[in-house]
């Protein structure tokens, strides 16, 4: 019951969704639309459950006094403020929007902007042309880096003005992205897509069942 029914459900929904897409018959399309509706109905529950899991994690942190557990109260303060105003007055309430714009936006944007500093430091310390492959990586990175900003073309057009080729930095960047990068990415896409399809078949046939987890 706990293991077999999910496997049967997975098989059933997988097969139905796969085959109804090939059949334009009205009954087939009705089933296809209805099953997608089911998924849409279930999706918000998954999203809310995800947030509950996070709350549980912080409750556990406080209960077990895990290092920096006091900060979990800050998590709850933020969560309750946002959720209280949001649920009570709706997401278009000026107070909710104000909190989003003046607290969440700066926190989110600043958190990720830290990486600009860390990338610069890491590039200085670790970005070395030790091998042929590393040299290729470094050269491509530097060309794209400098070709991405207008100063790249300015330097090219000033320093290499004797070349019969203007805006070389951005042109070379574009060539790298549109040729060798494209080939490598396409290889990855083809490889990953084949992997996705084989994994999907394994899931439908019940060969891959890790999502069921352990136990009975």
């Amino acid at each position: 019951m706990k293991r077999q029914v999910p496997l049967v459900l997975c098989f059933l929904f997988g097969v139905v969704m796969c085959f109804t897409q090939f059949s334009p018959h009205q009954y087939s399309q009705a089933v296809y639309n209805e099953v997608i509706n089911w998924a849409l109905i279930m999706a918000p529950f998954a999203l809310i459950f995800g947030t509950i899991t996070l709350i549980q994690t912080h409750v556990t942190r406080i209960r077990r006094r895990i290092e920096h557990w006091q900060y979990s109260f800050v998590v709850f303060a933020g969560l309750l403020t946002m959720a209280f105003i949001g649920i009570l007055f709706g997401p278009q309430d000026p107070a909710f929007e104000w909190l989003f714009n003046n607290v969440q936006v700066p926190l989110d944007a600043t958190m990720f902007s830290l990486l600009a500093f860390l990338i610069a430091s890491a590039a200085f310390r670790a970005f070395r042309a030790r091998t042929f492959e590393a040299t290729l990586l470094l050269i491509a990175a530097m060309i794209v880096l400098i070709g991405n900003v207008p100063v790249g073309d300015l330097i090219w057009n000033t320093v290499l003005s004797w070349l019969p080729w203007d805006n070389g930095a951005s042109e070379t960047r574009q060539w790298i992205l549109g040729n060798p990068n494209l080939s490598a990415r396409r290889g990855i896409i083809l490889g990953v897509s084949l992997g996705v399809i084989s994994q999907a078949i394994r899931l439908i046939l019940g060969i891959e069942r890790s999502y069921i987890g352990g136990g009975d």
Binding site: A120, M142, L177
Partner: protein, 271 residues
């Protein structure tokens, strides 16, 4: 001396990076910007759409990608409203509704566009490909009401829009994998034209789709925003940003060159 240089306290590098951003913010640069072909293709496509056409903009990004994608969204919205191209905004990313709603309203107010006639913002729905596929049959089955809770049946511009058949272009402004999902589930299945404006982190991943024309065009990060701003003739945050980014890019370039020079000198000495 060399080992001191290579073991430089990372906080000194942080200060250098900060200065490379602060100085151009105080003394802005104004360098010429060259428009790349992928951005030009989006502009040309929208520019040739007749008045009354409809494009759907998917705001699939959160606050952490606002600096790159908001200027793009603004520039495209301005272009659309100028051309009288109707805009349907929506998002599949839970952190986007507030920022997308604010942005659309701001540009609409500037251009005198009317909610419900020139544009509509549908809001967010969870379930990526399921929402996309459902909209292929009927947009109203995924978004029965817009973000302001107005039923789609009461919105004038939605009266003649049922599904992708009436939409001329989907522009996905993305910070994650949504562009690939739009391509996989909407482009081939519904023969829907798709364009993308993406963050720098995922630009490289998009090129295979550009060559197959599964993407009709691509705006790459800040650069794409500045290029589109140049095309519509309104230089703003994107242009300002890519100009101000120049010194930091040069700084990182120089840091890598110094790091490698020291590395090679040390290696030669050891040999």
């Amino acid at each position: 001396m060399l080992s001191k240089l290579i073991n430089l306290d990372r906080r000194i590098i942080f200060i250098l990076v900060a200065l490379a951003v602060i100085i151009p913010t105080l003394l802005p640069l104004n360098l010429p910007i060259n428009v790349s072909n992928p951005t030009q293709r989006i502009y040309d496509y929208i520019d040739t759409l007749p008045a009354g056409s409809t494009i759907m903009i998917a705001f699939d990004y959160g606050p952490s990608s606002m600096p790159e994608l908001n200027p793009m969204a603004k520039a495209v919205l301005r272009h659309c409203f100028d051309k009288k191209v109707r805009v349907i905004g929506m998002t599949l990313y839970p952190f986007a509704p507030t920022l997308a709603d604010t942005l659309i309203k701001e540009v609409a107010e500037e251009k005198g566009a009317v909610n419900g006639e020139d544009y509509v913002f549908l809001g967010f729905r969870p379930g990526y490909e399921q929402v996309m596929l459902r909209m292929g049959t009927s947009i109203a089955s995924a978004f029965e009401k817009d973000y302001t809770n107005t039923p789609l049946t009461e919105i004038p511009m939605m009266k003649d829009i049922t599904n992708y058949d009436q939409i001329d272009l989907i522009l996905d402004l993305a910070s994650g994998s949504t562009t690939q999902i739009w391509i996989t589930y909407v482009n081939v299945k519904y023969s829907q034209q798709i364009a993308a404006g993406v963050t720098g982190v995922i630009v490289s991943n998009m090129y295979p789709y550009l060559q197959t024309k599964q993407l009709i065009g691509l705006m790459p990060g800040y650069l794409g925003a500045s290029e589109y701003e140049k095309l519509i003739g309104v230089p703003e945050k994107g242009t300002e940003g890519i100009n101000n980014a120049s010194p930091v890019h040069v700084l990182i370039f120089v840091l890598v060159v110094i790091g490698n020079t020291v590395f090679f000198i040390q290696r030669r000495r050891e040999e």
